[in-house]
Every structure is written in structure tokens, then in C-alpha cells.
Symmetry: C2
Subunit: 382 residues, 2 copies
């Protein structure tokens, strides 16, 4: 989507936990010191502080959700069609914040950061983190930004998990929650896919117990990505996009190189991914997703998990998403309704599979912008 | 299922193509010489030759479909509940034949066989074969066994592909076809899963361009198997069987070893698989499946593909099979009906996913035994 003028933004950094008393206490029992949070903000916080929106990103996302870092950038932020001046989440109206999760490799502290205690990269010395740990770190950022309450917290996929986790960890700190294409607990099928992806990395000859330097475990990481990528598309979208079309020639090559268009596409996605993401981070973030079960502290009772939650929800799923299918959003909606929470729910018809949360911007944008405007009107007493 | 008396069977071998004139001409244009077919037979061919049934196995199956090879065997043949004396496919009534596909590693000629031209293992010198090539080899076995026409040809999954291929290659040589949990052409999603599985093998440091000896590419093969295994189960069966249960302890280990029951299960399946299957064979057989499109010779027109077919079909799919979903069987049924072929079709309600064809024996057995009895009565003029 071409824009006449590029909306230039800058990433910022927020460091905390240099003192032990300020370190981040993690679910595993360890403490994380000197935690950097890479974040971006768009728009301005209004006088009564009612227009702040927190965006959580998905597995391989980052803080750069909107705009361009420079005029030369080939691509804008990952949800640029959704967020920006005049966009559905209008940054002329809202103050939007997005930060990179801890455990990641896009600026926030993670396994490829320097461990100040040793002077070396953490790698596998990095503690295994959870979705709740990611949310705890973002709670610190909220204080730093002097936001007292979010108008809304919005996230798709793993971002939706963080939104749900926030709703039970800090129910008093948001006016609404918008979980999109997500789940309240990772299913055994998803845990299984994560396991196979990690096995591909862990058995790569270059992985070297996580201490790789120049020779990165790119085969393992690409294999993990290609596998995951299949789960982001739908059977139908693959038929429409590739069918059984051949890429290289008019007939079968009778070898094991790429023959089909879908093979070329996957290979390309795998190669691009290893240029922008890190193998150890992939291990840590998928593990955090495996461990995600918002009902765990309530003994597996999903309705009981939300007993202290009062703010309204807008829950959205996509008809062809088989990674986090509609049935999982319906389970969530039922659990919220048992707590008499005000829930709007929509299953959007889409053939794009899980990736629909990044692609179905028109219908998603309309739904979210209406919901936010109504929330803001209620809160500002209009 | 315990049986009082073990039904002992022996595998046999049939060698052909030692003369160039008798070699197997393959779809890739090459010839395969000295082709061995490992097969088993059960029951006896009747006087008028009307009771012969050909069973095709799936990707990792073999000729041992029923009975035990010895009293000491831990497990019987792979479809023992379906085939044997007094079973739904009753070997006291029918003459049943099953052979290992070429390209495999369970007795028939494949990449791990000796290439007589070089005196060494074929490995990657083995020609890339197709489902039609597998069927051509089994046509030779039919002649050897002096069967003039099959009462029925039955196969699940890749076995169903062979059955469909037979129906268009040799329509005059069977009285009926029973394709189960299969597809008329591999979907791009399945091609994609096969690609990722093969990538895991091809990038294993032990694969060594296929020339491995002692150090087999077991990590790659196990990863490929674990991935495929997920596609054989359903989301629902994984929930029922594993849920989010932990295997080793009562709380998360906060590491990357197996925590969840589903992870242990996959790891076990991967380890067991490398003991019984070969990595190069996995490459070749999955490639044969990728290349399978029964409509290819008819320019992609599935109905036109069956224009010379007249025999009745019994088509069966399973409700939770997302690898070869019901919609693909429905496409097949529609194509057959356009040719005024007598088609019985059933979608069996099952939560077992693709594996249902090995597990839903009661309902499947009733359906198949009724169909076969009717066919035999018609043919024998009763």
C-alpha cells in the first residue's frame, strides 16, 4: 500500500533491573538483570491519559508496528495498514505503544544479549521465560511511560496470549482487551509442532549447544520456519496461491530439488527468516508459548481464571485459522461470559488461515476502530 | 487384540527384469533392472479365480498385512484386525495379496538395494519413482501369481493412491476399487509437509548425499516422522490422548527437554521409526506421493481421468482426517459419478484423524466385508 509521505518513527530503549532490587523476577524463579526493552510510540498521550493503546506482537514480530525507520526502508512496520495517522488505529487520536518481547532478538534482552554477569552472550544460560514474564517486563515499560491505564490492549496470535495474560495479571490497568486469532492455552497439536521445529534447530550441526557464532544453525531454523509457515496458511489459501503448479519447468524434474511453486515459496520463506531471526530466540519464544495456559493458576478452570476481570473484550477469530481455530476463541468467550464480562465476539470469514490477522485489515480495522471509539467515548464521558 | 492361535505366514520374493527386455520402464524414462517384489499371500485362489484381493500399503507399510511371521513376534501384520481367517476380509474365503512397494525398504527393490550395475547400494542413484511405477511393478506380480482379475483392490492413504492409479492404468483387471482416506492428487499443503520432512533429512549432517552407512541420518528422519505423525492424528485425538499433560514431573522443567506427554510421544515415535525405516526410502516414497495426480494425463480434469473405468467403487473417508480430508474424497466421488460409475461413499465419523483407517476396524470392516460379499455374489452369479 503506497503512501505519499512516509511516516518516520524511531525505536527507543528502556533499561531496568540494573539494581538487584529492580531485577525482573521470572516464573522459573530466576531473576533477569539489566533488562532492555526496545519500544516504539506513535501519537501523543492526551491530557487525561485516556487514549493509550498497547500492542503486543506475535512470535517473530518486533516493536516496529507502524511507519518507516527511514525514507529508504523497503517495508513499513508489521501492522502499518492498521496503525498510523488516519488508519483504523489512528495515531492522531491514540497514543500507541509497542515493544519487543524479552527473549526476542529485535532489541529487547534475550538469549543473544550480553550477560553482564559473564561478559558473554547468554545463549542457553538465558532463563526460560513465559508469556507472563514478557507481560511483567511490559508492565515496567508502562510505568516508565507514565501511562496509568490502557484504553485497550491488542494482540494477535502470541500477542493475544500476552493480552489475555495481562487481563488476569493486571486487570485494573486496562479499559479493554482485544485478543485476535489466539488461544487461552496452547493445544497439544501446537505444542507438537513447536517440538518438531525446535528439534530441527537442536539437531542442526551448527547449533553447538546454542554457542554458535559465525556458522549459525540456519538449516534447522529454516526448517522450523517452513514448518510453522504451513500452519499460518490454510489448505484453501495454498490451493489458491500455489495449487500443484510447477515452478521451474513444465514437467517433474524427477529429483529432490524444488519442483512445485509451494516448495519454492517455503524455501524462500525459510531463507529470508534466517536473515532476520535467531535460532536460540526461536527456542525460547516457542517454549514460552508452549507453557501458556491462562487457566493454570485457576487449576485449569478457564472461567475461574477471569474472576477478577471486569473490562470489556472484543474477541476475534478467523474461519480458516486451523492453528488457533474458532473453537478456541469460543471457549474463551464462554469463559468470559460466565464472569458476566461484556464480550463482543466475531469470527471473520477468511481463507487466509492464521495469517488473516495480518491481512484482513479492512474488516478487522473497522471492527477495532469502532470498538475503540466507543470505549474512548464512554471513558471520556462523551 | 489377543488371538488364541497365531496365524503364521511367510514372505515370498518375486524377481523380474534381469533381462533388459523385461526391465521396468519408469515414468522418469529410466529402466529398473532386477526388481525384487517382497509379497505375502493369504488364503487360496478359488477354481474360477474370482476371489483374489490386492491390498496396497501406505507410506511406511510393508507386505506383512496379516498374521505373524513367527510365534515370537510381538506384533502381527499392520491390518491384522481387518484381514485373516474369520476377519472382515476373510482369508478362508478370499485370496489376499499384499506386496511392498518399489522404492521402499521392506524387501522390495529400493534405494538401499544393491545396484547390480555398480555392485554398490543405489542410494541417490535410484531413479525417482511414481505411484504409477509402483503399480506397474505390482502388475508384474499379478501375472506371476496367475491372477487374471482382482475381485477388489483396497488401499488406505498412499495405498488408496495406488488403487486409484490401478483403476485408470488397468481398468479391465479389477472388479472393484476401495480407496480409503486418500486423495486423487496430493494437495499443496501435503506437498509442503513432505518438503519440510525431506529438508530435515537432506540437511542432517549424517545424510552425506545419501551415502550413509553406519551413522544414519536419524535426527533428520526422526524429525520428518514426528512432523508427519502430527498430520496423522487429529486436534481432537491429541486433546483426548495427551491434553496439556506433563510427562516427567508436576511442573514445567523450564528447559527444552520433553515436558509434555505429547512431546514424549512424538520423541518415542521418532526413535522407533528410525529403527524400522530408511531415510533415503523416505525421500523417494514421499516424492512419489508429491507427484501423484491421477488427473494429470487428462490435463487436470479429474472426471476425464476415469473415462475408461467401469467397475464399482467404495470410497471411504474419515470426518477428522485433515491430511486427506473428506472434501478430497467428495471430489473423487463426483468425478466418478460423472462417468456413471457405481459409487458407494461413506464418511465415517471418527476422532482419530488420518490414522482412523488403521483404527476404525469395526465400522470399516463391516462396510468392506458387505461390499466384497456382494461383489463376489454378482461375479459368481449367485
Amino acid at each position: 500500500m503506497a503512501e505519499n509521505k512516509k511516516h518516520i518513527v524511531k525505536s527507543k530503549d528502556f533499561l531496568f533491573g540494573t539494581d538487584d532490587s529492580d531485577a525482573l523476577l521470572l516464573d522459573c524463579g530466576k531473576k533477569l538483570h539489566s533488562v532492555n526493552i526496545r519500544y516504539e510510540t506513535y501519537g501523543k498521550l492526551n491530557a487525561n491519559g485516556s487514549n493509550a493503546i498497547l500492542i503486543f506482537h506475535a512470535l517473530t514480530g518486533d516493536a516496529h508496528v507502524s511507519g518507516w525507520h527511514s525514507e529508504e526502508d523497503r517495508k513499513p512496520g508489521w501492522w502499518n495498514d492498521m496503525i498510523g495517522p488516519g488508519k483504523p488505529i489512528d495515531t492522531e487520536k491514540y497514543f500507541v505503544v509497542c515493544s519487543n518481547v524479552i527473549g526476542g532478538c529485535s532489541g529487547s534482552t534475550g538469549p543473544r544479549s550480553i550477560n553482564l554477569a559473564t561478559g558473554k552472550l547468554y545463549n542457553m544460560d538465558f532463563p526460560v521465560i513465559t508469556i507472563a514474564d514478557m507481560v511483567r517486563a511490559q508492565r515496567r515499560l508502562m510505568k516508565h511511560l507514565k501511562v496509568e491505564k490502557w484504553l485497550s490492549i491488542i494482540g494477535g496470535s502470541m500477542g493475544g496470549m500476552q493480552a489475555l495474560e495481562w487481563s488476569i495479571s493486571y486487570p485494573e490497568l486496562t479499559e479493554s482487551i482485544i485478543p485476535i486469532a489466539t488461544t487461552a492455552r496452547l493445544s497439544p497439536q501446537s505444542i507438537a509442532f513447536d517440538w518438531v521445529g525446535r528439534e530441527a534447530i537442536l539437531t542442526d550441526k551448527n547449533w553447538d549447544n546454542g554457542d554458535y557464532t559465525e556458522n549459525i544453525p540456519e538449516n534447522g531454523l529454516a526448517t522450523a520456519r517452513m514448518l510453522a509457515h504451513i500452519t499460518y496458511l490454510s489448505d484453501e489459501s495454498m490451493r489458491r496461491k500455489f495449487g500443484r503448479n510447477l515452478q521451474e519447468s513444465e514437467s517433474y524434474s524427477f529429483d529432490f530439488k524444488r519442483d512445485f511453486a509451494v516448495e519454492s515459496y517455503l524455501q524462500y520463506q525459510g531463507q529470508r527468516f534466517v536473515e532476520r531471526f535467531d535460532a536460540n530466540c526461536y527456542l525460547y519464544i516457542t517454549r514460552a508459548m508452549d507453557y501458556f495456559d491462562v487457566s493454570a493458576k485457576a487449576g485449569g478452570n478457564l472461567a475461574a481464571a477471569f474472576k477478577n476481570v471486569t473490562c470489556p473484550f472484543l474477541v476475534i477469530s478467523f474461519s480458516s485459522d486451523w492453528l488457533f481455530p474458532t473453537a478456541q476463541s469460543v471457549d474463551l468467550v464462554k469463559a468470559l461470559l460466565k464472569n458476566r464480562i461484556d464480550v463482543s465476539y466475531c469470527e471473520i470469514e477468511s481463507s487466509y488461515g492464521h495469517d488473516a490477522f495480518l491481512l484482513e485489515i479492512e474488516v478487522l480495522g473497522k471492527m477495532i476502530s469502532d470498538f475503540l471509539r466507543n470505549r474512548l467515548e464512554v471513558i471520556d464521558g462523551k
